[in-house]
């Protein structure tokens, strides 16, 4: 069998590449595992998402009932749905953590710009998965949170109205929005993600793990190479260790804190109190609340969206903005600390009901 495969596939080359592949070993090596953990959560999402697809019905009349059916009647349906919801959140959390460690370790610098670009786009796609998937159970909270979320797009000048109609499939959240979000969630986003993920993983393998500048400098000072460990089995087993911990965490959360379904959405009912988006959008939601109505004659919300768009663009083009000097690296680190502190503060304020 093995020889049959070797004759037809580049098994020997792959085996040789794996055998020779090494991973830098230093005090920050532990952060390398976050990327793998994000990938693990993504794979869980794919597997559980396919299972949910077998029963889910994407129409405003049936969506809620079908999710309820999954949770009450389908064997282990409650577990699959709960794992899908928890894994989505953990995936976004792991992706954010991965991004910040890459920033702090300056792993985006030349020649890894393509790896960084594909990674940032993958993070945006993960947020897109979260936003579109949140509406799919068609419950009260998701319905009104999506209305608030899509309303924000309307603030953008000239194209705001078009964007709202594009996102909603009409002037308001309706069955058309649900089918649209479903299409994005199970077809458009997965297709783009698969392509970008393949590119991202290929680039990671091609360039290998980046070594932080401080470690590189120390090695240069001591005139010693940076220590490494073999990818297989040393790094692979450690990665598997991390994945297993993630699996244990997922199983525990799904069984002890099953994801709630809430009440079925009623478009004619008034919005319930305490509407909030998913936790990873909370900081933007809270920051918008603190914006004054007008800043220098410009609508406050528009200013906030402008600043956030600039921030996102800055993130995308970070490798090209950082000139890779010790000064520019320090500026990037402090900007990342400030952004992290701001996001954490806004999230905490939103969770504790600040200016609600």
């Amino acid at each position: 069998m093995k020889s049959w495969l070797r004759e037809r596939l580049p098994v020997a080359e792959v085996e040789a590449a794996i055998a020779h592949k090494t991973v830098p070993q230093h005090r920050y090596s532990v952060w390398y595992y976050l990327g793998g953990m994000t990938l693990f959560f993504f794979l869980v999402q794919v597997a559980t998402g396919i299972l949910l697809l077998l029963y889910y019905r994407p129409s405003s009349g049936e969506a809620y009932d079908s999710v309820q059916f999954i949770m009450t009647r389908v064997p282990f349906g409650w577990l699959v749905r709960s794992i899908h919801s928890w894994s989505a959140n953990l995936m976004v959390g792991a992706a954010f953590a991965h991004m910040f460690t890459v920033i702090f370790m300056k792993a985006y610098r030349r020649p890894r710009e393509v790896t960084w670009l594909s990674g940032v786009l993958l993070l945006f796609l993960a947020l897109g998965f979260g936003f579109t998937g949140y509406l799919l159970p068609w419950n009260e909270l998701s319905y009104f949170a999506t209305r608030v979320g899509t309303d924000i797009a309307g603030v953008v000048p000239y194209v705001g109205d078009f964007m709202i109609r594009f996102l909603r499939g009409g002037p308001d959240i309706s069955g058309a929005t649900l089918t649209r979000f479903y299409g994005f969630h199970v077809a458009v986003l997965p297709a783009i993600t698969t392509a970008l993920l393949a590119l991202h993983l290929l680039m990671v393998q091609y360039h290998g793990m980046s070594v932080p500048p401080s470690i590189e400098a120390r090695a240069a000072r001591e005139k010693k190479p940076v220590p490494t460990m073999p990818f297989a089995p040393h790094f692979a087993l450690r990665d598997l260790f991390g994945w297993t911990i993630a699996l244990a965490l997922l199983a525990g959360l799904a069984a002890y804190l099953p994801w709630e379904l809430g009440h079925k959405a009623d478009p004619f009912a008034s919005a319930p109190a305490g509407i909030q988006p998913e936790w990873y959008f909370l900081w933007t939601f809270q920051a918008l609340k603190y914006m004054p109505a007008h800043i220098l004659g410009i609508e406050g919300e528009l200013v906030a969206i402008g600043v956030m768009t600039l921030g996102a663009l800055g993130l995308v083009f970070l490798p090209f903005l950082d000139r890779n000097t010790s000064r520019s690296r320090a500026i990037v680190s402090w900007a990342a600390v400030a952004a992290l502190a701001f996001m954490t503060l806004m999230t905490v304020l939103a969770l504790t009901g600040g200016q609600s």
Binding site: T72, W78, L237, I245
Partner: protein
Amino acid sequence: MRRLWIAAPGVLAFAVLTASMCVKIRAQVPSPATPPAPAPAAQVAAKPPADAFKDDVHAKAGLTCESCHGAKKADGGYATLARTAIAPLCAKCHADAAYMRKFAPQVRVDQFAQYQTSVHGKQMAKGETRVATCSDCHQSHGIVPVRDTRSPVAPAHVATTCAKCHADPVRMNPFNRSPDIFSEWSQSVHAEALLKRGDNSAPTCSTCHGSHGATPPGAESVANVCAQCHVREAELFKKSKKADLFASMGQGDCLVCHSNHHIEPPKSSWIGLDDKALCATCHDEKMPGAAVIKNVRKGFDDLQGRMAEATEVLDRAETAGMLVEDGKLALHNATEAHVRMRVLVHTFASPPFDEVLKEGLTSADLANSTGVGAMAELQYRRRGLAVATLVILGFLATLFIKIRKLPA
């Protein structure tokens, strides 16, 4: 220290401001014993007549001061109408069907005829001018249609309007009428529905006493008055043995158990032969009907007990994250059976009651078993998780040992 002195006037001002705000807020919050706030129409009436009349439905229909008061007097003012003349004056238009049709095709024109049959109207006809006439309830110069929520006779304001006189001991004592009726009604299930839940179909004074023909319903017509809303209860009561019995005793059917103004939500503790039970007012262990009373009470106790058990286990399961929609539906059916049982109490017999009781108990048991099943499923899941966790931990330990044994 100096900073403290500078801050002191600010703190003092803040304290005074806060205290004054608290006083204002307290003044705006009625205590439970305080009647609801007076109708906004009272504010309309406080305006000078000419100003109040600008917002009057009659002004909008083209009437003027002269239409009611006649021509101006020599001093430029208008003559005040005698109280006995007010109702006949209003009736000149409001009892004229052909005239009223021009303004509102479906408006009623029997108000004056009704008024003449009322206690107010009869007393007024005798020259007793302290009783109510049209303007006492509708205002004199700021009259708005009844459907206007500002009207003092809009459903939410009727009781307050009646209370202006009927809750005033000075006005009621000369007529030997109790001034407590309004406060009694205010504590009733009807007042709660009307004033707290905003259900305008809930009964207020005029629903039972009539509006223009306001008169206390006699004992013989109480059941008919309550039957306006409580149709099924009245139907069952009239077919029961109690209807003839109460009639022969001159008792006001429904009032015997439910009283008149302070009508409370029914309680199963009313049924029984113990001292606190209402039935015990007339019945004892030796009298016929004791077995039915005990059976009905036991039925309520059994169903309520099982519903409470089901509610408790369903709540626990739901709090633990389980979906118990089937159980909730069954509990809803049990609650519905409970409501129907309360209605069937008015048959004063066991057979129809027992049938619905059986349905209720079956539903409550189903709700309970759904909740118990959900809790068992939860335990199963947790045991499964514990086993899975052990397997995962074992795998992690193996991995850890394997990693430690790898050559550096």
